[in-house]
């Protein structure tokens, strides 16, 4: 472990020989600056900061910004005290905490008072030394926060947590337990024994008097071996440390799971689901809570492989290790941690029994972005292949905010379902939804139904949708759309339309019906007859015509564009020149 960090700005203890507080109090008395805080005031400030920070976890999530503020105050006030006055020694009493005999914290509300909580847990004195590290303060704060939240643990109470912490610079004086003041012997009610320890109750006496029967079979040891002192290499201790440390625990969880599963099949006295299920749930919560996905997957696989064949029991065991909550957590973790690939996460999620679809769909609905979506969509693929109804239903439930990634997945794995959904989604008003639907329809095998839908999309109020519909029509080679397209072009050209769209329509016309388009487009460039020449052709039609003629190519097209270039100016002339250039390049390429 790295050297502990000393609190920033922390100086040496002011008096090495005696009580820091007493000495500091003396110094404070001699100091000319009367506004300087006294040790008691500074201690009060630090204690308040400590209790506020610990209590803040009652109100806020640990990661809340307000909590950060309290922790920051704690660091500042504690640092100030320790730097100026040395060690902070607090006596804990039922209602208050005192420093140097003076009350620095008081709260008579039993359920709120930090003093009372510590007192009733058996803490009687708390001493923070000036050399205390920030890590130690945080560990202490964590213990106090556990107590403030009223969490009482069966395995570690506050006293054992303080003991476990092995603080180097924080001392506590704690109640070690209740001791009986036994001035009356209980020999009258229980049997006297020769042993030094007499039982105190009939219940204890029952055990005290039990015959010694433990572990009688003698271990199967054989011949003698050499008994010599042998120092062990550091690597041996390192291996033990790893097994004992946090990295060893998940392995032990797996080991215990395997043992329990084997005992479910025990011939004489099998364990039951009631014995095993609660522990499996706890192990699952621990592993997922700590993001230990690989060990979790290992346990899930173990249960899948080793659970007894009885379907009910098997179902109970699998449900204990993995249920909808687990799936949600996996989806969350896919966003938080990248230690496992989406495919690996998918494999784990695939082991989770039950109906995943509603959970994943709910997750997707509430998570508009993030890697968790990727996993969710991957997990839905199998369902989409065989039973796409629920996915389509969810997709269409709110067309305007339809999940387009779902639509794309559907298209990947089940095109008929995607086509049906896309046709439905074309009715949405949101252009993004319509465009996505058109993209699907552009790639879907053609049918009259699709053709009608695409033509219908040409009447969309959004230009990007109309242009996407054009692309789709061209991709589907829907020649029957040609007349509608021309009529619509004429109508639109009379009003306001973008030249970009005009060009796109011209190109679409050329691609859908080359021969008819050549005639129509030529007329828009150079209208036939005298009257035609006198009439003014709207700019979008001419723009579309040039774009279309460039697609069609040929001498007549080039001649027409040259003619128009000579007659026009500005952007149209530029377009004609660019078109001619494109034609020249294409012809040159063809000649070569």
């Amino acid at each position: 472990m790295a050297e502990p960090t000393t609190l920033p700005g922390q100086g040496p203890e002011p008096d090495a020989g005696g009580s820091g507080a007493a000495s500091a109090a003396g110094e404070a008395a001699q100091a000319p600056d009367r506004s300087a805080p006294t040790p008691v005031k500074a201690a009060g400030k630090a204690v308040r900061a400590l209790t506020h920070a610990a209590s803040s976890f009652l109100l806020y999530d640990a990661t809340n910004e307000a909590v950060a503020g309290f922790i920051s105050d704690l660091r500042e006030s504690l640092d100030q005290f320790l730097t100026a006055f040395g060690r902070l020694e607090l006596e804990i009493r039922p209602w208050d905490m005192t420093f140097a005999g003076q009350v620095v914290y008081l709260d008579r509300d039993r359920e709120r008072s930090m003093a009372f909580r510590l007192y009733k847990d058996g803490v009687r004195k708390l001493v923070i030394h000036p050399e205390v590290t920030w890590e130690e303060i945080i560990e202490l704060l964590g213990i106090l926060a556990v107590r403030a939240r009223g969490i009482r643990q069966h395995e570690d109470d506050v006293v054992t947590m303080l003991w476990n912490a092995s603080f180097k610079h924080i001392e506590t004086e704690v109640v070690e337990g209740l001791v009986a003041e036994d001035d009356e012997r209980v020999a009258e009610v229980v049997h006297e024994t020769d042993a030094a320890v007499a039982p105190r109750s009939a219940l204890q006496a029952m055990v005290f008097n039990a015959p010694y029967l433990f572990d009688y079979p003698v271990p199967p040891v054989g011949d003698r071996g050499p008994v010599a002192y042998r120092p062990l290499p550091e690597a041996s201790f390192e291996r033990i440390r790893r097994q004992d440390g946090p990295e060893g625990l998940p392995l032990e969880c797996a080991q215990l799971t395997a043992e329990l599963l084997a005992l479910l099949n025990d011939e004489f006295d099998p364990l039951s689901a009631d014995d095993v299920v609660p522990l499996l749930r706890e192990v699952r919560a621990y592993l997922l809570g700590n993001g230990l996905l690989r060990p979790f997957a290992q346990i899930l696989r173990l249960v899948g492989e080793k659970a007894p064949p009885d379907e009910t029991l098997r179902g109970q065991l699998l449900a204990a290790v993995a249920d909808g909550e687990v799936l949600r957590r996996l989806l969350d973790l896919a966003g938080e941690r990248r230690e496992l690939s989406i495919e690996e996460l998918g494999e784990i999620a695939g082991l989770v029994p039950g109906d995943h679809v509603p959970i994943i769909l709910d997750f997707l609905a509430t998570h508009p972005d993030g890697p968790g979506r990727q996993l969710g969509i991957l997990l839905l693929e199998q369902e989409a292949r065989t039973r796409p109804e629920r996915i389509s239903q969810r997709l269409l439930a709110n067309r305007e905010a339809a999940d387009l990634e779902l639509l794309r997945m559907l298209e990947r794995v089940n095109q008929p379902a995607a086509e049906a959904a896309a046709l439905d989604l074309l009715a949405a008003r949101a252009p993004a939804v319509q465009i996505a639907a058109l993209a699907v329809l552009a790639r879907t095998p053609y049918s009259a139904k699709i053709g009608r839908a695409l033509v219908g999309a040409l009447r969309s109020s959004a230009e990007e949708v109309r242009r996407k519909a054009l692309d789709a029509l061209v991709a589907q080679k829907e020649r029957r759309a040609y007349d509608t397209l021309v009529e619509q072009f004429k109508t639109m050209a009379a009003g306001a339309m973008s030249l970009g769209e005009a060009g796109a329509i011209g190109e679409a016309m050329a691609r859908l019906e080359p021969e008819r388009a050549r005639k129509q487009l030529s007329e828009w460039v150079r209208p036939p007859g005298l009257l035609g020449r006198l009439a003014s052709v709207p700019l979008p039609l001419r723009w579309g015509a040039v774009a279309g003629l460039v697609v069609l190519g040929g001498d007549d097209a080039r001649e027409l564009i040259e003619w128009l270039a000579g007659k026009s100016s500005g952007d149209l002339q530029q377009l004609c020149r660019a078109g001619l250039q494109a034609l020249a390049v294409r012809e040159g390429r063809q000649q070569r």
Partner: protein, 460 residues
């Protein structure tokens, strides 16, 4: 926001999440709720007893409620301990809140103190008439001499021997005089561990979930005391005064802690290991169709009862594995046992081999046991952990009886003191060369004494 503050927040968030996951909320809520009812009702009944005759109809409802609450609580917990200390009341280690009447707890405490008592244990449910008798006795005039004993006898006369009264309690402090007397003196601490171990065994014997917390505190004190003391020797000396049931359990715990410390486990891990060792044989306390659980199934029986504890904790996982695997060989086809299981296996086997059994003596003398175990490294035992055990105990472990070259017979009274004196511990002379006992207590350092020529196996 500085990085260290953010890290602090993350760390505390983890601490809180972990603590929540370790809590057995269901049990705690039951104890809080039902325990609170039992204490409040008992308190109320005692007050009423000063105002009404015991057959007064005013008692009917509270007596019925008390009876029901106590029955439910016993179903959940087994024996119910109501203890008063200072102004607080605890039911099986859970403090009972007195939100509206702060004086209420003091009232119960005062009533019990009149009988020189600090608590009551209800081992069985009571019926209405028994509740009335109990209340009458508690509210009645205390005995003039030995009031608690008098109360206990009166309870027995009324057919209430399942109710036990305890002496007054006070909190014992770290660093206080009595603590020093107990904790600093390992032997005393070792002896005092017998009672919590008995409670655990009794709870398990009644198929009830044992509470590991008192055992954990006891183990913590053993670890603290063991820092500066030779616990192998002290444990062996102390156990002669222990009742038989706890000798093996406590010795296996002490030996496991020795191996754990040699393996450089941190104190928190040693505590988990010690608690696991304390529980390793609890399976024997159970009954199968009225008979003691046989050796072949004691591990599984122990596991089954410990599985009742709710809440995730690393100590629990390791304890369960230790209970299940502590007889399993290193090369078992089911896989290498877990670390604590391997440690307890060595401690357990050593104690089984060397434990004195009345009329039979030990299976092997201590030096013989350790030599035969040494040959099983890599097969039965983890060779690294076994070597650590050997390095701590030496070829002449505490309790070894040996004859020196000069004819004196000695008993070894220390574990290994240094690598240089590995095979030369301290020893107490028990016989002079002529077979007579020494005139005075004589401790010799075998590093400066004639060599050992023979070791003895104690006779039965």
């Amino acid at each position: 926001m500085s990085e260290s503050i953010l890290q602090a927040q993350e760390q505390i968030a983890i601490t809180l999440a972990r603590a929540r996951s370790e809590e057995d909320r269901e049990l705690l809520n039951n104890v809080r709720e039902l325990g609170g009812q039992v204490v409040h009702l008992l308190n109320g009944l005692l007050r009423m007893a000063h105002l009404h005759a015991p057959n007064n109809a005013a008692f009917d409802n509270p007596v019925r409620d008390f009876e029901a609450a106590l029955r439910k609580l016993i179903e959940v917990l087994g024996p119910v301990y109501v203890l008063c200390a200072e102004d607080q009341v605890f039911v099986n280690d859970v403090r009972i809140r007195f939100e509206f009447q702060i004086d209420e707890s003091i009232g119960l405490s005062t009533e019990l103190l009149r009988h020189n008592s600090g608590g009551i244990t209800f081992n069985e449910p009571l019926v209405g008439a028994q509740v009335r008798s109990l209340v009458q006795l508690l509210a009645g005039t205390p005995g003039a001499r030995q009031p608690r004993t008098t109360l206990q006898l009166r309870l027995a006369d009324e057919g209430l021997s399942s109710v036990q009264v305890h002496p007054p309690f006070r909190f014992r402090m770290t660093g206080s005089e009595d603590e020093a007397a107990l904790s600093d003196e390992f032997r005393e601490l070792y002896l005092s561990a017998a009672r919590p171990v008995a409670d655990i065994f009794a709870a398990v014997g009644a198929s009830r979930l044992p509470n590991p917390l008192p055992i954990r505190r006891m183990v913590n004190q053993m670890i603290d005391a063991g820092v500066s003391q030779d616990i192998a020797t002290l444990a062996r000396e102390g156990e002669q005064r222990l009742p038989p049931f706890s000798q093996h359990t406590l010795m296996v715990t002490a030996l496991s802690l020795i191996i754990g410390r040699e393996a450089r486990l941190p104190d928190a891990s040693l505590a988990d290991l010690g608690v696991a060792a304390m529980f390793h044989d609890v399976g024997y306390c159970l009954r199968e169709e009225g008979f003691a659980v046989p050796f072949a199934r004691h591990t599984q029986a122990g596991l089954k009862i410990l599985l009742l504890q709710r809440g995730f904790h690393r100590a629990k996982v390791r304890r369960l594995l230790a209970v299940l695997q502590h007889h399993r060989a290193l090369d078992d086809p089911r896989g290498v046992p877990a670390l604590y299981s391997r440690i307890i296996h060595i401690a357990d086997d050593y104690d089984i081999l060397t434990r004195y059994r009345p009329g039979k003596g030990p299976a092997l003398a201590a030096p013989d046991a350790i030599a035969r175990m040494a040959a099983m490294g890599g097969k039965l035992y983890d060779p690294v952990l076994l070597q650590l055990f050997i390095n701590a105990m030496g070829p002449l472990p505490p309790g070894s009886i040996a004859t020196l070259e000069d004819g004196r017979v000695v008993v070894v009274i220390s574990a290994v003191r240094s690598p240089q004196t590995f095979d030369k511990p301290l020893a107490r002379v028990v016989r002079l060369p002529d077979g007579s006992p020494p005139p005075a207590d004589t401790v010799i350092d075998l590093a400066y004494a004639p060599r050992v020529v023979r070791v003895h196996r104690p006779a039965g």
